[in-house]
């Protein structure tokens, strides 16, 4: 499988979840694991460009596919991805645990809805849980991310 543009060896154990493979075998700890049964959205990554739960996939299923994690959005030292920049500007995070999952979900969401309505934004982020912000700043960040993406 390709992870963030780099070819990676296949996982050894078929019961290895993609989330654990990314974190433990590849050292990509930006993908967080929260509930590990698909409810919280923390482990969201892009599979061939579409957001999916990495805790609900076996790593072997990603063979032959492209996975993008939070680490793949912007290189160290490079300008942030528009969605990351928007979360930064709008204080779309507090403790930051849910943030990689939100950012990856929003990247996929804006790809499908470049000019989202407030209702579409609520629907778009409804699969991710945040225990700190109360979501108001995250909603603002999604609006801002749409603006920044257009400018790019």
């Amino acid at each position: 499988m390709k992870v963030n543009g780099v070819n990676r060896p296949a996982p050894v154990d078929p019961r290895r979840l993609l989330s654990d493979h990314l974190r433990h075998d590849l050292g990509l700890t930006g993908t967080h694991v929260g509930c590990e049964h698909g409810v919280c959205g923390c482990c969201t990554v892009l599979l061939d460009g579409a957001p999916v739960r990495s805790c609900l996939m076996l790593a072997v299923q990603a063979e032959g596919h492209e996975v993008t994690t939070i680490e793949g959005l912007a290189a160290p030292g490079a300008p942030l991805h528009p969605v990351q920049q928007a979360f930064h500007e709008c204080h779309g995070l507090q403790c930051g645990f849910c943030t990689p999952g939100f950012v990856m979900s929003v990247v996929g969401f804006l790809e499908e809805n470049p000019n989202p309505s407030p209702e579409q934004i609520d629907e778009g982020i409804s699969g991710n849980l945040c225990r700190c912000t109360g979501y108001a700043s995250i909603r603002r960040a999604v609006h801002r991310a749409a603006e920044l993406s257009h400018k790019k």
Partner: protein, 250 residues
């Protein structure tokens, strides 16, 4: 989190998949995995073998057939939700899919997987039942059509035999006014109760071991929903009455 050990099989043809299902003891089909993998993670399911059908792209087809829409076992819920063909022929299915979990889950989850999993609180089995659709089961013994009314046998139980692969689902165009309504604690959660209407047919979900067809004039007659932390049986009956009124006004 570690699922229990299993032997993994990734067949690259439908024939191979059926051969595996007929020869293996205690095998489970993995399609979208959005219900099966949580069960593995919690170790509520411990199959000896996993037959992953994700290398069978020919099963991702969505097409028009016999006055309805048919979709293969690998048609993702998101693809069916976005399909113009489905929206034109069976807009009830488009609506029902919009109520299934969240978009990120629907990017992986499949329509046929929801039907084979047969969660009593799931929208798609009830929609198939209200519409009078069917599924096609394939095995090395041959192929058979299972009407929705004969498919759902109990909680997570279907008429599928262990060696059968649910290869296709068929949803006919609604024969009249249609609507779906449900109530859940949080957006995207499993419904506490839900109602699907197609013309004068009402199917309920979340209130019995399987989706059930009921009399529109008295939708709660004979119902004995279970209670849990989220809702008492009385509350579920109340919801059925309210939701039935809403869909009948559609």
């Amino acid at each position: 989190m570690k699922p229990p050990p299993f032997k993994y099989h990734g067949p690259t043809s439908i024939d191979d998949a059926c051969d595996l299902l007929s020869s293996l003891e205690d095998a489970k089909v993995l399609a979208g995995g959005q219900s099966l993998v949580p069960l593995l993670n919690f170790r509520l399911a411990r199959p000896a073998h996993i037959v992953d059908i994700n290398r069978l792209p020919e099963l991702a087809r969505i097409y028009e057939r016999d006055g309805g829409v048919a979709m293969g076992a690998l048609a993702r819920q998101a693809a069916v939700e976005d399909s113009d063909l489905v929206a034109r022929i069976c807009p009830l299915l488009t609506k029902a899919i919009g109520l299934v979990a969240h978009r990120v889950i629907r990017n992986r989850g499949t329509v046929c997987g929801s039907l084979a999993h047969a969660d009593p609180a799931s929208e798609l089995p009830a929609a198939l039942l209200a519409l009078g659709g069917h599924v096609i089961a394939l095995s090395t013994r041959g192929q058979r059509v299972i009407p929705a009314a004969e498919l759902f046998k109990g909680v997570f139980e279907t008429a599928l035999a262990p060696d059968e692969l649910l290869v296709e689902a068929w949803f006919p165009a609604p024969s009249g006014v249609f609507a779906i309504a449900e109530e859940s604690r949080r957006h995207g959660d499993f419904a506490l109760a839900g109602v699907v209407r197609v013309a004068d047919r009402l199917a309920l979900f979340g209130v019995a071991p399987t989706p059930v067809l009921v009399d529109a004039r008295d939708p709660t007659r004979g119902l004995k929903p279970s209670g849990d932390l989220e809702a008492t049986p009385e509350f579920r009956l109340h919801l059925v009455k309210v939701l039935a009124k809403r869909v009948l006004a559609a």
